[in-house]
């Protein structure tokens, strides 16, 4: 049986999203399709799959992206969907532990990609927000959307700080050990 769940995760909470998907799989609900805030599950044997998420370096349908995904597939993983550059992978738990990264360096590089994404969206919101708020009068559509941009920019700034702190922690661990 299929059922759809609508849920919102912030980009920087991708590990929470992973945990949630694994917890659903443990209950016999295996993710089979993703969309914007939409998760479609299908019944499966409880604990059959382990789920992992990655923000790819290249778009999933580019040559480089496809080469990477087919490499993961050779190792028993399955791409069940993607949203923009976020890819959702799963592998049968019977094949053993499933992780996409096994050392600090590759985890840090992944965080760098996420930081870059958050930073870009943050800059766009900040620019658009500032222009609209300063350039238009009270309660015009532009003014209100500018305020929304600025609000979003504030949230993204917090995200940027949290992600940077996480990266810093990994970097410190990296200086004494490699995985």
């Amino acid at each position: 049986m299929r059922n759809t769940v609508h849920k919102w995760f912030w980009v920087w909470d991708f590990d929470k999203e992973e945990k949630w998907l694994c917890a659903m799989a443990a209950k016999g609900k295996a993710l089979v399709h993703v969309g914007f805030c939409t998760y479609e599950f299908e019944d499966s044997a409880p604990g059959e799959y382990i789920y992992r998420l990655e923000l790819l370096e290249h778009a999933p349908d580019s040559t480089e992206g496809r080469a990477y995904i087919s490499f993961l597939e050779e190792t028993g993983a399955e791409q069940i969907g993607s949203y923009l550059r976020w890819c959702y992978f799963r592998r049968k738990a019977s094949l053993g532990e499933f992780d996409l990264f096994s050392d600090f360096d590759s985890r840090i590089r992944h965080l760098d990609r996420i930081l870059w994404l958050v930073g870009t969206v943050l800059a766009l919101n900040l620019i658009s927000g500032t222009v609209n708020v300063l350039g238009f009068g009270d309660l015009s559509v532009n003014y209100v959307s500018g305020m929304v941009n600025l609000l979003l920019a504030a949230v993204l700034t917090l995200a940027f700080i949290l992600l940077s702190a996480k990266k810093h922690r990994l970097g410190r661990e990296r200086s004494i050990s490699e995985s």
């Binding site: 490499f71 993961l72 050779e74 190792t75 532990e97 992780d99 096994s102 050392d103 590759s106």
Partner: protein, 112 residues
């Protein structure tokens, strides 16, 4: 070759060792795990990045594709073998120094 005195990561060391004979990605992961008695688990994303870097450095090369096999196989190059030899010398130095100094401490503590 861009390898003066830098240490290899454990992942790179086991990848190079595994590629003394041609292997594809999953084969490398399994071999590294077997060689290390289950301790070293290379995750696919980490392995993919390392393989690309090693290809760029010329320490490994891709085997010519064989007919209908989709899986790409890799093998170590002469340069890669030289890197392995240097790394083994470096590791021997680490072990030699570690053993000698720890034994010294042991002798001082127990007067043996």
């Amino acid at each position: 070759m861009n390898f003066a005195n830098g240490a290899l990561t454990e992942a790179v060391y086991y990848i190079l060792l595994s590629l003394l004979e041609p292997r594809h990605g999953y084969g490398i992961m399994q071999n590294a795990q077997t060689l290390s008695g289950g301790r070293v688990r290379l995750a696919a994303g980490t392995l993919y990045g390392a393989l690309n870097t090693l290809l760029e450095k010329g320490w490994i090369r891709a085997m010519p594709g064989e007919g209908n096999s989709r899986k790409k196989e890799y093998v170590i190059t002469e340069a890669g073998q030289e890197v392995l030899r240097q790394e083994i010398m470096r590791l021997e130095e680490l072990v030699r120094n570690g053993r000698a100094l720890l034994e010294e401490v042991h002798h001082e503590e127990y007067g043996t």
